[in-house]
Subunit: 318 residues, 2 copies
């Protein structure tokens, strides 16, 4: 895939997603010691950039295939992105979620009209459940990141950056990275622009950063245990990794505490609400060594756990 | 003054203020029982719409007059709006603030380069201090609301609404109302459009709503004691009131608890941070009786007291 896929995705989705603002504040620049912009994808429909990929994927299907419906595995943001697009097209969406997913995410996904199928992580096989349903009903699987149209949808963020940043801008674009769909998409959109894209992950879950160093797909030892759960994946994708390998600079990792502190600073200085996983790029912009003087951090919102937010405010608030 | 003043203000300020997004969420519409949009002025530079009026006022001065500097009385958002514009023009800004103003507001105003002059509310006369400084240094006073260019600057919000709402939209536009600069400006910008502008105030401080009923400028009995302190003023302005009287529908009042709950709901569903006074219009959109099916609420941020926010999250959070 290439930049043309992203331009095509933008044509399909632009009337249906928000062009999110690029926010900054002098106080934040002073804290960071560099100029920091936040691309506020938390203001996207459903609260996360996943609304882009979801719409891109659904809109790329033929009307006949789309009409049968789609299926996705997700406990959160991708579920809502797919559900929103399916509802707008008036086609069925089946979302397979673990039965121990947060109640608010299950409720939000159902509120968007999706059929939520719960499974027991300990005793049931998610893929078998999904495959059986897909086969029986002719549903199309929308993968969370290893899909050309999903990557292209997330990549539209990069096209917006090209419009909003000064011509010839040569800073670094930091992207919260799980499976790498958004990172790869933005890197493709910015290819040749002079901007340097870097994935940012939670410490201990830096599979992509390590893979970029080793040159092969490395896996995380653990797959849970970070407050940044929204971006914890076992490894970069088979489709996203080669793109990141070709186009991205070194990756960065931030601690859970840095992500939580960035969340509080975004609240205070930019007046937007990020979830911890969606705040890792801003955390790197604020706290990571070795970055240049001009940085854009992509921020995402999703479903913020209000107890976690309150605890962060108590620890890092003024 | 009329709509032409607002169009002229927009030409002067548009490269220097943000065109703020109009945000909405299905979950919020369901709660309200109507379609609710939030014009997110909390994402404006300095966190509030006051950045518009400040720039509009400074940019309307002749270069010679402006070069001597400006002075404003404000404990908060207007101070920062004026200070930001003055800093950008490279001219002095003196802000006269009560010595018991919140430390964060004093610090933020100083961070924008302003000279902050503190006075003791119990023993000193603010106006005398300011007048003496203005005379000695040739400073121009920028009033917080009873000023044509300030009203015109805040009114640019209305011009943006005309661009962002569907053609011929005939809903209600709810505006947090202190002295009435923003309410009057938006009402002028929307004159003849079919939209109905309504001021929203805290209960017990509904001077504008009562004045609209009585047909003369009524005052509040108290001038402090609401968590919505950012919009508590003694009375509507001599310049703003006739405009509101001519163009606005009836006013609305919300309780402090409704404002705090709206602040939490904006956090949860729209992922933006409002201050209590900047959340009253959203509170009315959500909780007030007698409104129609289509409402835009203007939301503003300013400097959110994080202890108040945390307490609201504990009470109204999920």
């Amino acid at each position: 895939m290439n930049r043309a896929d992203i331009l095509a995705a933008r044509k399909r989705i632009r009337a249906h997603v928000r062009q999110t603002p690029l926010l900054g504040a002098p106080a934040l620049d002073a804290l960071a010691g560099r100029q920091v912009w936040l691309k506020a994808e938390c203001l996207q429909h459903t609260g996360s950039f996943k609304a882009r990929g979801g719409w891109s994927a659904l809109s790329a299907l033929s009307p006949e295939i789309r009409a049968r419906g789609v299926i996705a595995y997700s406990s959160g943001n991708h579920a809502q992105g797919v559900a929103r697009a399916a509802a707008a097209y008036g086609v069925p969406a089946v979302i397979v979620m673990p039965s121990d997913a947060p109640g608010v995410k299950i409720a939000n996904t159902r509120a968007l009209g999706a059929e939520v199928v719960l499974y027991d992580r300990a005793t049931e096989d998610r893929d078998a459940i999904g495959a059986a349903m897909a086969a029986a009903r002719g549903l199309t699987l929308v993968k969370p990141f290893d899909d050309v149209q999903v990557i292209a949808g997330q990549g539209t963020i990069g096209l917006e950056l090209l419009e909003d940043l000064p011509d010839g801008w040569q800073g670094e674009v930091l992207v919260p990275c799980g499976g790498g769909g958004m990172t790869a998409g933005i890197a493709l959109a910015l290819e040749g622009s002079g901007a340097q894209v870097r994935p940012v992950e939670p410490e201990g879950f830096d599979d992509t950063a390590r893979s970029l160093v080793s040159g092969r797909i490395d896996r995380n030892v653990r797959t849970s245990g970070s407050v940044c759960d929204a971006i914890v994946t076992p490894s970069p994708g088979a489709m996203t990794f080669p793109i990141m390998q070709r186009l991205c600079g070194f990756g960065l990792a931030v601690s859970d505490d840095q992500a939580l502190q960035a969340m509080v600073l975004a609240f205070r200085h930019l007046r937007v609400v990020l979830e911890p996983g969606g705040a890792v790029a801003l955390a790197a912009a604020l706290f990571a060594p070795g970055l240049g003087p001009q940085v854009v951090a992509i921020g995402s919102g999703g479903n913020v756990d209000e107890a976690i937010f309150a605890a962060a405010l108590a620890r890092f608030g003024s």
